[in-house]
Amino acid sequence: MTATNASPSNALAKGGRPSDQLTEQQLLKMLYDMMLIRRFEEKTMQAYQQAKIGGFCHIYIGQEAVAVGSISALKDEDPIVGAYRDHGFALARGMHPNYCMAEMYGKITGCAKGKGGSMHMFDRERHMYGGHAIVGGQCPLGAGLGFAIQYEEKDNVALCYLGDGALNQGAFFESMNLAAIWNLPVIFVLENNNYSMGTHISRGTAMANDLSAKAEAFGIRYAECDGLDVLAVYDCFASQVAMTRNAKNPQWKRGGWDQIAYSREGANPGPAFVNVRTYRFQGHSMSDPQKYRSKEEVGEYKHRDPINLLVNHLIESGKATQQQCDELDNKAKDISKDAITHAENAPELPVEEMFTDVYANPFGPYIKGGLPNIITNENNGE
């Protein structure tokens, strides 16, 4: 899934953008991943409207460039964890769409056997530590992934995604503080689509006009990028991830007051807070009538559709033809249709599985569970 073999730091050293180093093949992969998310989500919405999918269902359309751009800048083993608008992350991380759709259908072939649903996409093999449904509740988990990487002295970086609603949760602040004092290799990625459900960020978040204040309070490095432009997202993360990855100064080697240099300029080399300015083209969830924003506002953002932006760039720069792009889109449509077919035909979560996976070491009425198909099927859904 990693879209680059080029070292971002080398690219920066030459003064160019990291994305300049991306090959045509890598660029087309990024385009395809965004198209797949778009077409998959269109199918998700249809299935939800047909009551095939239940519960809360949050659509990723409009935000594709955030997941694809940032994950493309990671190593395969870099763990990610995020919130409940998580289908796009699962697909960008390489989860086969069949497992993702089957999960929403509550089927046994789903990534979590139909026990999690739309808001809980997990993929251990692809280092996706889940979508999490309590706003901000995943932030301490992200700090924990960073802590574990540091503890084991691995060369990885954890990405912890959160929406702008989570900015107002205590869990976010506590996690930022722990990341700062222990120099954890974690990047908190703000997926800033301006709305926590129906509340505009300006109504719910202090300093919404300058979110660098959130990072500055902890001496954490701050960056921001245009979340509708996948190459801008990639550029931002290529450099931020490299900085965090190279910051080797674990908590147990850090000394006292004089040895820890926090800086208002954001010199802290370890954790980072990245504000990715994006926009969701659909409602908060499938049950959102969107009375809180105007059609004009949505329309303005749709003029900068992240998929069209990349298509235009590729064609204008001669890196791809319209026909190539159309072929990828058709493939995305077909794969998404196949995911629906798979989910429709897969067996329900059987009654016998209700009492598995409650305990890894079960007792009484509980039963030891097997691994889901996503792990046991080598071909990942084929």
Partner: protein, 348 residues
């Protein structure tokens, strides 16, 4: 009177032994909490552990329970084995989302992909004049959550054996200890009931393989006339009551459940079938409590063996008062247990 003395061992030392022994054999285990390191433990449970294991594995956290409890969950998902110490379980309430949403449901929500082998431990229960907010007993709050395991040990032997089992277990394990009991054992066997003398108090010496499997109740005192079912500090209240009732010719049996989840109802029911009478003693509040659950299960399993209905002794249904004497009054103390046993056995 039996005076066989086992090891002179404080409760806090048994907890420390458990963590030290497991940390020596498993590099994935780390201890994190407020004042666990340089301060040597707010209650000296982790005394000396920073010296032995260093700051990588004994980690002083800021006062930030949501942050460090959740950090532990994330680290456990990644493959580490965190021991998260709450200075008091009363302080865990601000971290509720992490400890009862994230930790125990992760395995299920991920379809078996991500387990959460984590230990949360700390002081539980009232009795130190700390006022209401610091006097929580959380067993009734948390025992109803599927996915976690929960122990309330009453002796150093059990505390060590259960904690070691919990550390080795693949599931989230909650160890509810008692500040009022941490120093018990300092003065040898004068510190605790004669019924616990001998090998019931201390764990065996130099036995790193000593563990107590979760889900096995223990009969702390054999008796014939009435069964008392309890756990944690109230075990000592029950044994105090047993001494007094002995003078009246009533011979009670004290069943220490040790773990509320899993609950060993077989041992409990076996005792009730023998005595025909049951008093459930529980240091949390009566409504929808672990005591109420145990009583209900006693009815389900051995209704025909009961010669009276089950009586329950709990904290009084009030916030813990600060006043020293009134606080002692509100606990499920020996006086209340004695009255309940007399009543249930028609000796009132």
């Amino acid at each position: 009177m039996a005076t066989t003395t086992g090891r002179t061992l404080q409760f806090r030392e048994a907890l420390r032994e458990a963590m030290q022994e497991e940390m020596r054999i498993d590099q994935r285990i780390f201890l994190m909490g407020e004042e666990v390191g340089e301060y040597n433990g707010a209650y000296k449970v982790s005394q000396g552990m920073l010296d032995e294991f260093g700051p990588r594995r004994i980690v002083d956290s800021p006062i930030s329970e949501t942050g460090f409890a959740g950090l532990g969950v994330g680290a456990a998902m990644y493959g580490l084995k965190p021991i998260i110490e709450f200075m008091s379980w009363s302080f865990c309430l601000v971290a509720a989302d992490q400890i009862i949403n994230n930790a125990p449901k992760m395995l299920y929500m991920s379809g078996g992909q991500f387990g959460c082998p984590i230990v949360f431990r700390g002081n539980n229960g009232a009795g130190g004049q700390l006022g209401s907010t610091h006097s929580w007993s959380v067993e009734s709050l948390f025992s109803s959550v599927p996915g976690l395991k929960l122990a309330v040990p009453s002796t150093p032997r059990d505390a060590k054996g259960l904690l070691k089992a919990g550390i080795r277990d693949a599931d989230p394990f909650f160890s509810l200890e008692s500040e009022r009991m941490l120093g018990m054992g300092l003065h040898g066997d004068k510190d605790y009931s004669r019924y616990l003398h001998g090998n019931k108090w201390a764990p065996p010496e130099n036995d790193a393989d000593f563990v107590i499997p979760l889900g096995q109740a223990d009969i702390k005192k054999q008796g014939t006339d009435c069964t008392i079912i309890t756990a944690g500090r109230p075990v000592h209240f029950a044994l105090e009551a047993a001494e007094a009732l002995e003078q009246e010719g009533i011979d009670i049996e004290v069943v220490d459940v040790r773990t509320y989840r899993p609950l060993d109802i077989e041992t409990i029911a076996g005792s009730v079938r023998k005595t025909g009478y049951a008093v459930v003693v529980d240091q949390s509040w009566p409504f929808a409590s672990v005591g109420a659950e145990v009583a209900a299960q006693v009815y389900e399993h051995c209704f025909d063996a009961l010669d009276n209905h089950v009586l329950r002794v709990h904290n009084d249904d009030i916030p813990a008062p600060y006043n020293r004497n009134r606080e002692q009054d509100m606990l499920p103390n020996a006086r209340k247990i004695i009255e309940a046993v007399r009543a249930v056995t028609y000796n009132a």
